[in-house]
Subunit: 333 residues, 4 copies
């Protein structure tokens, strides 16, 4: 039984809170947020203690692990605190928007020896996982060509976009991680082109909302990733992997199985309204995998280094947007 504290009680914090409560191997005890009212509300729902300060979380000595769902600019600080306290950490991506600082904190945490994992929750999606299992089982031979789409339903608020680090670092980074995970090696080069099509203000803040990225791997494998902020038709995520001996696809996920036939058309349920509905179950699965690793002492399913590598790809991708060239990806040591 792992005793947990939750740092951050915003939207994603409340998703995590429910999963922390339901997990049978977790003793969910404490919640902290800079906004005490938000923390109290979650504490009331699940019978928790509200920590008045971040110090109070770690000084109690009654916590085995923290789930860091605080604002992005606090991730690095909270990781250091966990390392200092010898407490395991599951952190929302990114480690830090600045790759240099993300690297520094990663090395600091690694030196401390605490178990630490970035919450790349999409790796835990039921269908993506099945796709990975099929590939690893050799059913499609050697991976040769990947096609991935990650498309959100509507433009997030501009205030969010301004601090997001841009499309590559904020959204496509999930797909960069999945590409590494699927292929099993690190891509060496990336090319990206993008446009701001949904709203003129996106261009004004120097960002894009529609893009196509191409990754190259050492052995000639190629991955193509499109990212979109606003589809208008729901949350659209799809992975397709062609190998030397077949193709496997984790397809678009429709909400239901109801079909209608009228006149000349068949109409069925469409996609999930947003990413939250689509990937909801993955947070519980990722958390469960983290806790199982803690309980059994087995290796974590992913590490802070995975976080750094996905960020390194996002950096090169952002550079490619500017240069119009296939850019080498520079992984930090």
């Amino acid at each position: 039984m792992q005793r947990f504290a939750l740092l951050g009680a915003g939207f994603i914090g409340s998703v995590h809170a429910r999963n922390l409560h339901l997990n049978k191997n977790i003793d969910f005890r404490v919640v902290y947020d800079v906004d005490g009212g938000r923390a109290q509300s979650i504490a009331d729902e699940y019978g928790l203690t509200v920590a008045p300060t971040i110090d109070a979380v770690f000084d109690s000595g009654e916590i085995d692990a923290v789930l860091i769902a605080s604002s992005t600019d606090m991730h690095a600080e909270h990781l250091r605190r966990a390392a200092d306290a010898g407490v395991a950490a599951l952190v929302e991506k990114p480690i830090d928007l600045d790759l240099v600082q993300a690297t520094e904190v990663t090395r600091y945490v690694q030196a401390s020896g605490i178990p630490a994992m970035v919450d790349f929750n999409r790796r835990f999606d039921r269908n993506h996982n099945e796709l990975k299992r099929i590939i690893d089982g050799g059913e499609i031979g050697k991976v040769e060509l990947i096609q991935m789409s990650g498309r959100g339903p509507s433009l997030p608020p501009l205030e969010y976009l301004r601090v997001s680090g841009g499309l590559m670092r904020d959204q496509t980074v999930h797909m960069f991680d999945l590409a590494r995970w699927i292929v099993g090696t690190d891509p060496t080069h990336v090319f990206v082109t993008g446009s701001a099509l949904s709203d003129a203000q996106v261009a004004e803040i120097g960002d894009i909302d529609t893009s196509v990225a191409t990754l190259r791997f050492e052995d000639g494998t190629i991955a193509q990733i499109d990212s979109v902020r606003r589809t208008g038709y729901g949350y659209d995520e799809r992975i397709e992997v062609m190998g030397s001996d077949g193709l496997v696809e984790s397809g678009r996920q429709q909400v239901g199985a109801v079909s209608r036939y009228h006149g000349r058309h068949k109409t069925t349920d469409g996609l999930h309204e947003g990413w939250a509905q689509r990937v909801e179950a993955t947070y519980a699965t990722a958390l469960d995998a983290f806790v199982n690793a803690l309980e059994t002492g087995s290796p974590l399913p992913n590490t802070l280094d995975d976080g750094l590598k996905a960020q390194a790809i996002a950096e090169a991708a952002t550079r490619s947007l500017r240069t119009g060239q296939l850019e080498p990806i520079i992984y930090v040591q």
Copy 2:
């Protein structure tokens, strides 16, 4: 090369004419219709001779086979003429609406020794054929439960319905034949219930437009068949067969592979507009199978006896509609 005459130049005759023209093993020579103008129009299109009388078709001595697509009440007479002339015959169903007369002409034709086949074209549908191949290959074990739908898009003209023999003899008979073909034995009992829902005039002429039939086979296998005259959403035909070791389905056939995602729905192409569009290709395949049997001397894929048996089921089905009981099926000897 088989020299063919076509008897009947109406709608279905014109479908056959095109297939007779395109088939490489057929020398399509003559067309006959009581309406000489209709015959001439087809003759002009394919470079044929118009036979002025039915005698002229058979007396010429230049014909190896006839395709009988004349009006239903002429089928028996034309079959006898073919038997007398020693010419092979492919006849549209039914042999005759009256089962006793159908039996008589069948025996007469069989005594003559000519090859004769009822054009149960649905057996030649690409997908139904594949379903049959899978079942015969043992992939789903022993057949236990069949579900079939045959649903037309709109009510045929009342003049047609008045002479059609009723829903069971006119439309469901195709499915009765398919059920025998799939199971490989003859059903022993049938129960049917039906309603007239699309138009009050259907009830007035003593017919129904919506029905569910249940067939029982000696070994306990059960088949369910629904028949509908008017769907409003196109032509809907579907066969599903459950066996002791799996299920196989020849599914609804959508016209195309175009999908649209808008808001909360996905919209795709619907079904074929009518049966003619849906089963068009089966006429050519059935004709080809008939000609191949003539050319090679191999057994015909189906015979007049198959026609009689499907009609016998339709007779018992019509009786069940009146009695509300599971009726035994009486096959003629």
Copy 3:
């Protein structure tokens, strides 16, 4: 906040226990089972009191509602106890296998005035619900023809079958309820034929494992329902409703959205392993609807009378199996 006791701590009881625990409007307090050890195990998991006797459940005065998941032969007795105690009741189907006794207890409960509902959980399936919403919204016009399949993956133990009341009363009864719910009126006649195909012992105990039922409604609407105990390919449930203006289908539900293309085939995820996996979510939804009705005082989504009517159809269906006739359905007053 409704204070609940759970009666019955077997397999289905443990499913209910989890839902009682998670529901925010429920204060889950007490569990009772004739097997005290089973009750204790659930009590430990959710922090409950174990009631040593059935009296202890009702005498405490601290319970607003009971969920009756005890063995079928105890349902009637537990319903009477709830009525006597003035406590609301949600009861697993059937009320009682004997329709006369089921009617008596229903009238007794109704006289007491307590809210009481049969847990016809399939009405709460997300897709069936959407189908119902579409029909009620008039999108397919007047309902004319229904096709339903309910097929279990494997034969239940013979000990279970012996006390189940037979296929119609045990399994098809769910579909009889759904048919009434979809059409909005009560069927007047039923015809059924069935076979024992999966295991010779099924016939020995006088039961069947494969059947096709046909229901007729006053206005000519027809419903066809097939029921199977053993598919070999998972749990297969499907509802299709044709109306005067289109068709709506709550289709087969595949477990996932992973597809593979190899050689000449595409392979995708199949169906759920069993009914428990397929309908799991419906229990929580049904419970939620029950509690909401208690909290708001609004009408229950279904009542004991719905249970009686579905059972009355099952009785006539069982009779039809013997007579081979379309049987009138006799609803008790």
Copy 4:
């Protein structure tokens, strides 16, 4: 009625021959091939005259149009002959592998005033056409992101690859044309990366068999195109277009509608065996569109200039493969 000659009697010539024969507005008269035996074989099948020389085709004065299906290196010469003879021409792509020479012959033909069209047959695919109709009807708003796949089942013979001009000019050029057609404007830049993965000999001849291309349009629209020589699972072609108001897809086309459920999987028919099976119908439709334009004097559905533009994109794409940069596309004037 247009009197036609067919130039070239190889594999694709024989496909065209059948369509020329079946088209009701075509009087198919003459066939020519450098290999007289091949020409004779087609002449025998359709009752044609074999032209002994190319001069004989054009000097007869009895021809209104030619279908040029000769070897690629003869296309330009045959186009010039048609222009000199004042005979309409439908030519297989490419006009000439050398873009400069293709441009010269295009200008020469245009100066002659004859109607001339490149046979970009994929524009005439039923589903791609429906996709185009939906987009042009404004149903998905402004086009923003396109994803296309064109993947062949197996590596063509190396002798063919050696003279093909490389993957971009030979195969991807079809998709470049479709991208222009869908968007309605010309892309300005292209980036491509590719690998030789199926066979070491592909790299030895300086070609690739797996690639991802990205196109940019003036208004920010982006298209992604992957091309593969060897899938191992059949011919895979797919187009997906996201607009500001929805998405439309011309999906993978499965051969049939047969499904099987066994154990934990559903298996359906896979894709067409090769491109010939998949796009067979498009040749007849394209030919029909060409003939209709000749008969009615309406504009041709596509022109030699469309051929030049698709080739210009392929040239820039081939350059990008070398430079690793987003390359400007230089359209000839």
